[in-house]
Symmetry: C2
Subunit: 406 residues, 2 copies
């Protein structure tokens, strides 16, 4: 008998039929004699509908009321999932985030989990019940409903797995697992059996949409081994953990492409101490997420800065910079959004030189120009023209031999 936390995302519980299928899956795991805690999201589309209703009333609805509103989405799913289990004669009980003892700080719409009181869940597990928990939500010290922000349901599952010392944590989603590259682009992309937390984190920040970084960070911090797999088939998924077999031998684990980036070129700003700081403070205050940054060497007292931001933030970035230019006494900004970021990721990279050289040569052979470069210990990212991103991914995938299982 094992203790398992399963998490089903919005598309997995998107309608009544899918909820019924999820219930059958839960029953199968239950019938094997396991204790089960199941975290579910709102049905896909519901959260966006609720946001649209709020926005139709107020351009900037208050964060507290948005949490009150959005928490209804998961609450509906837990009840329907429990009812679907009852229809299969499985004893099940639903829990809101508050009832599951998920205590958060008071930062509405992006609350952080502080503690979990798992006693009620432990009690029901011991009574033989399947416990269905609303993902994405919690409660603060004052009894206010909070939500955890993007990727919150994954976080709920991983935090609960840590709290109840689960043997397994399974994140069910609409993809089969983590691939060496996007299989829609790279035909011979291969599903990874295992990947390390650090690689998963770099992939997450490089445009691989499987999971948000914060859930992976949380899993790494509390050493929660989890599996990413599909709720639409029974294929094994990808196991994410600290130490991965053959870790040293594998130089590059995967290739990720992020097309949702824009390049911001700030030019002709006076090159004096603090100019760059002023630029990035203004962007931070406008909640613009800045990714890759390159500063050219100042020349004739004039400096240029280039960086990337999510496309949706580019106009906010432009606006935020206007007062800075006024203050600095100069500056211009240009946005290029026809770009993509290509990243190669692998923990083996730390001990192998030559990865950068191979990547740059491969792109050169394809006639693809590199506009920006940034590196971390286990990742190399380049900005290239969006139109060539798929060619670049295929070429890099082949160059590092990723189609071959280790």
């Amino acid at each position: 008998m094992a203790r398992i936390v399963q998490k089903y995302g919005g598309t997995s519980v998107g309608d009544i039929e899918r909820i019924k299928r999820v219930a059958e899956r839960i029953k199968a795991a239950r019938d094997e004699g396991n204790q089960l805690v199941v975290v579910v999201s709102a049905r896909s589309g519901v959260t966006n509908e609720l946001i649209a209703r709020a926005r139709a009333i107020h351009e900037h609805p208050s964060d507290r009321e948005m949490d009150m509103l959005l928490a209804t989405g998961e609450q509906e799913t837990i009840a329907l999932t429990a009812i679907a289990l009852h229809a299969l004669k499985v004893d099940a009980v639903s829990y809101t985030g508050a009832q599951a003892g998920i205590f958060t700080d008071a930062v509405h719409t992006k609350a952080k989990i502080k503690t979990i009181n798992a006693r009620p869940i432990e009690h029901d597990l011991k009574a033989g019940k399947v416990v269905i928990v609303a993902g994405f939500q919690g409660i603060n010290e004052d009894g206010q409903i909070t939500t955890l922000g993007r990727g919150g349901s994954d976080l709920t599952a991983i935090a609960l797995a840590a709290a109840i010392k689960a043997d397994k944590c399974e994140i069910y989603t609409d993809v089969d697992g983590v691939y060496t590259a996007d299989p829609r682009v790279v035909k011979d992309a291969r599903k990874l059996a295992e990947i390390s937390y650090d690689e998963m984190l770099e992939l997450a920040s490089s445009g691989s949409k499987v999971m948000q970084s914060r859930s992976v960070e949380f899993a790494k911090k509390y050493d929660v081994v989890f599996e990413v797999r599909s709720s639409f088939n029974h294929n094994p998924g990808t196991i994410v953990k600290e130490e991965v077999v053959y870790m040293e031998q594998v130089v590059v684990r995967g290739v990720a492409v992020d097309k949702d980036q824009a390049k911001v070129i700030v030019s002709n700003i006076p090159d004096k101490p603090g100019s760059a700081a002023k630029v990035f403070r203004a962007l931070a205050e406008a909640n613009v997420i800045v990714d890759m940054i390159v500063q050219n060497i100042g020349h004739n007292g004039i400096a240029n800065l280039t960086f990337t931001v999510p496309q949706g933030d580019s106009h906010r970035a432009e606006k935020a910079l206007e007062p800075v230019f006024t203050e600095l006494g100069g500056g211009e900004v240009a946005i290029h959004d026809q770009i993509a970021k290509l990243s190669v990721v692998g923990v083996g990279m730390k001990t192998h030189s030559g990865v950068a050289a191979t990547l740059f040569q491969t792109l050169a052979d394809q006639g693809i120009n590199i506009e920006l470069i940034s590196t971390s210990e286990i990742k190399i990212s380049v900005v290239i023209a969006a139109a060539r991103a798929d060619d670049a991914a295929r070429a890099a995938h082949a160059a590092f031999g990723l189609e071959k299982a280790v």
Copy 2:
């Protein structure tokens, strides 16, 4: 400055535009310097949608999970209403039933309110906030979400008005108030300025759909004066309270017609002690609500019983009686659903004779046959053919001079 509880039903908050209009109404009352607690229902249609989803999964979903599910309906409305008030620059905060301290017993789907801890609401009222409370829902001692059953939001409003010692309680609905008869049937029906709890109770049980009896009973018990009025105009409504002006002079307050009744004729059952008890115990166990009962005198050892039930219960009644007939060694049942119940109600009836005589003569003059009669201290009800119900209502309304204001 007064302390006011307002309640808006499902049609009043049926869509975004209506929620905005409700917010304007709340703001107007707020701008007059009043403290406001506002109870809202789920948007009309939402509860039925949720029930349909649950039923598509399980024929008999569990009561606990239905409460979990249905409570989302009001939770959505409170958030949207608070957001609509924020858009009008009114400081407002939403409360679930649990947050409003509405503690109930553990009977899911038809819980009874046990106590209300009004401290959080008092605190926010003193801080100048409008408090928006989810109607229809509460929490039991174990922290489980419960719902109050039909008419639950009215009950929430009246119970909160008692708990915070409100000066006024306003029940906003889609009708203007309580009328001397249904204005769609009786052209010169008149809106009553005031009505007593007892009269309101008799009208509620006689097919007038304005409010459920239990809310009126609660108001009577805790002496909560409330006003029934429309959220779609600014007309004054009907005030419901213990003592009504000119109470003694008014013999008949109103005429109500209930077309949702069926007459059940049980014949040829052996006339021995306990036969009737067996019949009605079987009906009670099948949750059939029995209204008017007439027993004919036994004859040749054979008894007949006639009673009325809601039309939706008639087939359940029929089925429940089969085993009783077997046990008693005889009996037949016939259902007539082309009937209506007409009632005249008025506290003045207690001290005035002749009401029954006037009613019966009026119906006789119209050639309307009376099939059953039952009376209470302040009500006389008759069962007549459904096809003549409207004629009967008009004739009775005229016979008691209800078109004239007192």
